[in-house]
Each structure stands twice: as structure tokens, then as C-alpha cells.
Amino acid sequence: MSATLADKEAVLREMGEHAAVAAFVAGLGEGFLDARWDRGELTLTVAADSVVAAGRAAQAAGYNFLEDVTAVDWYPSEPRFQVSYHIVSHGLKERIRLRVMLPGSEAGTGSGIESMTAVWPSANYYEREVFDLFGIAFTGHPNLRRILMPDDWQGHPLRKDYPVEGYR
């Protein structure tokens, strides 16, 4: 296998048999947007409205453990936010990255992305952390409140338009 498979077409061609890729093709259809194989890691990009379906498909394919949820702020380009889920399979001993791109306008309103807590309850803290530090609201989250910063804090520190030092 080559070191980098840059797009969905190449991944489907070379890795069509891969458990997660096959499950996403079968289960998501249009919601499966892009794929990338780079530095030994598989990244699967899905549409924001099919993230929970993707979680269920991955779980059914044997990826049983949600290891981490975090975000990246690509300000000022759009779509601004990237939410990354890292999912491990205890059986296959493999990890995949689920990636969702989210426009900046939708992030704070809660219309953008559904909570993964329905599939893995452990998403609770991870999503609270993303909400706290990036201001991305997850719909259907049982207790979406700040976790690391004080409750009355203004702003979201890990956004790129939030200064590292000095005044906000």
C-alpha cells in the first residue's frame, strides 16, 4: 500500500475491504464524504448530520471504544471547525479517525452537530471540553456546560481568534 492515499477514490480502490471503510460505504451512502490514508492513519470524513450514524456503523464494524473527541479551529477559512473522533477497536487492534467539518456560523447555535453520547456515553466529558474551549454546541448532550473554565467565563480559549496572552 502506498504511503498516502489522498482521496476517497484512492482509499476505496486500495482499502475497500477495510472493516470501517466497507461499513461506511454500506451504512452512510451520501453522508460519507471523504477518506484519507496518511502516515499509517485512516481518516474518514462524514457529513455533520450523519455523525451519529457513522458512530453506530463504526461500532457495528468492531470499533468499540471511543478514545477521544476534540476539535481544530481553522479560522479564518471556512468551514471553520473540524471535530475529530478517535475510535479504537479492541478486537482488530486498530484506530480510525472520524472527521466532521462544521461551518463557523452553525457551531455555537447547536444546529450543527449531534452528540455522540447516544452511542458512547464517554463522549459526555470530551464534548463538554470541546464546547467549553471551542464553543461548539452538541445537540442532545445530557449536560452541556463548561468543564474546565469557570461557569461565568466569556469566550472560548482554544479558538484561534482568542489571544494567547494579554486582554481578550
Binding site: 496518511d38 502516515r39 499509517g40 492513519e41 481518516t43 468499540n64 471504544f65 471511543l66 478514545e67 477521544d68 476534540t70 481544530v72 479551529d73 475529530s84 478517535h86 479504537v88 479492541h90 487492534k93 486498530e94 484506530r95 479517525r97 458512547w120 456515553p121 464517554s122 459526555n124 466529558y125 470530551y126 474551549l133 456546560r145 463548561r146 468543564i147 474546565l148 473554565m149 469557570p150 461557569d151 461565568d152 480559549p157 482554544l158 482568542y162 494567547v164
Partner: protein, 402 residues
Amino acid sequence: MSQPILEAPVAEGASDQTMVLNMGPQHPSTHGVLRLVLEIDGEVVVRLYPEIGYLHTGIEKTCEAKFYQQVVPLTDRIDYLSPMHNNLCYCLAVEKLLELPIPDKAQWMRVLLSELTRLNSHLVWLGTHAMDIGALTVFLYTFREREEILRIFEQVAGQRMMTSYFRIGGLALEPPLDFFDRVRGFIRTFPEKIDEYSNLLTGNPIFMNRLKDVGHLSAADAIALGVTGPPLRASGVDFDLRRDMPYSSYEKFRFRVPVSDRCDVWGRYLVRLEEMRESVKIIEQALDGMPEGPVKADAPKIVLPDREKMKTQMESLIHHFKIVTEGFAVPAGEVYQGIESSRGQMGYYVVSDGTAKPYRVHMRNPSFASLQALETMCKGRLLADVVAVIGSIDVVLGEIDR
């Protein structure tokens, strides 16, 4: 405060029977500044809500303003009981981005020191866990051995706790001449010391009664709630990143992964005690098979040159100046590197935009995730058991709050 942490007590028709109790943030058995808001009915825990963030220092944000090599000392400060694991995980992630091969000796040294770090961390866990239960003596014994490990760290890295010994591309320095003898001397006597702790605790009826069948966590709950490391293995899930997704030449070592299906605090105690014995075996193998060769990768634009070369060779001086003043550019991309730290699966997610500073560094910390399982383990049990359960998941608040 916009909304109260726990709304009015929930027990239906009996709301005047429960009370809300604050435990921490300053409480000797919460291992730092963990605050627990407990709703209790008599002595039985009805609900439990961990309130964290008291130690939040914004390390992830700080990382974005530093050069790649300047992030290494920050990673020490996340989990102050296993600094080398944090160093290792970050370095591996950046090396993966750079696709930089690491010399064998550096990899083996990393394994050796990672396992010493695990012993260091488990010794602190054992001492404080036993102390929480009321067995004060063990603490003095474990800290006696930990002192020797810290001296070894000081000898090799110049620092007892904030070591920063692993660097991008290898190690900071060659280990000193008598380093291997000293480690060998330590691990020769260490298995007896584990027997000594075991003699003090394992057959002790008070200790046993406080731990057995307390803090029950089924395998399905552990996976659903993101629990990793010794608590996961004590729930019967046989998964260890060192064996199952090896890194830094762990695949060349032979060791057993201790698993218990007791699902309680006692099982977690037994698993960690066994893990210490396995770590000793790994250290022995690392000492016996330590390869010869350099401890830094051959990448002059990334790894700082030796001091002597820097003073005598023009090229090295230029490289040294460039690395220190401008850093080194890392090809764009994103990687996630997971390792098995003392507390479970640690992960570093590093995103590069092609410049000399990381675009985003995120740490996945085992304690942060494991804390979510606290309510499941404590609900319906006695208040006094909460202390035993916190000890059994071995939380480090610096790691949770970052």
C-alpha cells in the same frame, strides 16, 4: 453561577431525606484539587458529580505559541507522576509527522525509562491508596523505593521530576557511565520489595474488606465510559497498547498483561501490583539487550548537535542557531499517537500546518476519561467507599485539568 450543579434532590417523595455534601477541592484523599458534589441518603451515595478545572492552565493553548521542541518541557507538567510517558507520547507524535526514524538505542532507552516511570507512578499510587484506606506504613516503604528511581532520573536527565529527557529525534544526552549498573542494582532488589508490600497488604483482612466488592464496574460499562489501563484490565478486558498496538520497539519485549475479572477495587490493586512485576521484567530485557549506537537521529536540521561539535564545526553551529531561533518546519498533516501510560491510554493529537509551531496539540488523558466512571462505581454504596474508589482509578488532577 448560572445554574446549581445539582438541582433539588431527586429521590421521589423523600426529598428531605437526602443532603448535598461537598467533598474537596481541598481534601486529602482526592489526590489534588478534585471537588465532588455528593447527594447522600444517610451514608449511601445517591448521586455524585465531579467538578474539575481547578488546575486548568491552558497548556494546549500555550503549545500553539511555542516551537515544536519547546513543547517538550510543557508535557512534563501535565502528569507529574509520569513525565516520561508524556514526553514519549508527544515526541512519537511529532516524529510520526516528520516520518523520522529513531535509532535503536534511543528506542530501547525510552522503553527502559518508561517502565521505570511506571514503577515510580505505581509506587506513589500504592502508597497513597493504602494511606487513604488507613494503612499508613506502606507509604513510607514505597517512597523509599521511589526515592531511588527519582535519583536515577536525576542522574540521567538532571531533574528528579520534570525530566524532559526524551526529545524529538531521540534523547537529550547519552546516559551517564554507571547508569545501567545503577538501574540493574535497583531492579535486582525490587521484586523483593513488591513482596514486602504484598505481605503488608494482600493478606491484611482490614485492607481486603475495604477493597473487595467495592466500586463495581462491568466490562461493558468500562468500555462505554472510556475507562482504560489497569481499571479496564481489572474489569476483564485484555487490552494493552504496549502489546496490541506497539510503539517504540515494545514488540521486541516479552511480557504478560495482567488481567482480572473481579471488576472491583481489589482487582485493580492486584492488576497494578502484577504490572510492577512485569515492568521489572521489561527493564531486565532492556538492560540485557541494549543496542549500541547513537541516541539521536541523524537529522541535523531537527536534532540539536552535540555541544562539542557545535563549538568546533561551522555547519553544526549554523544548524544549532537555526533550530534555536527559528525552530524546524514540520510537514502539514495530523497524527494521533497513543501509548499506555501508568494510568491508561494516553494520546497526543498533533496537527501541523507546515510551520515551526504546532497548529493544535491535544492530549487525551486517561484520568480525565476514567473520572466519568466514578458515579457508576459509587452509586448506592457507602460514602467511605468513595475514597477507596478514587484511589483505585489513580487520578492525577494535573492531567485531568491540563
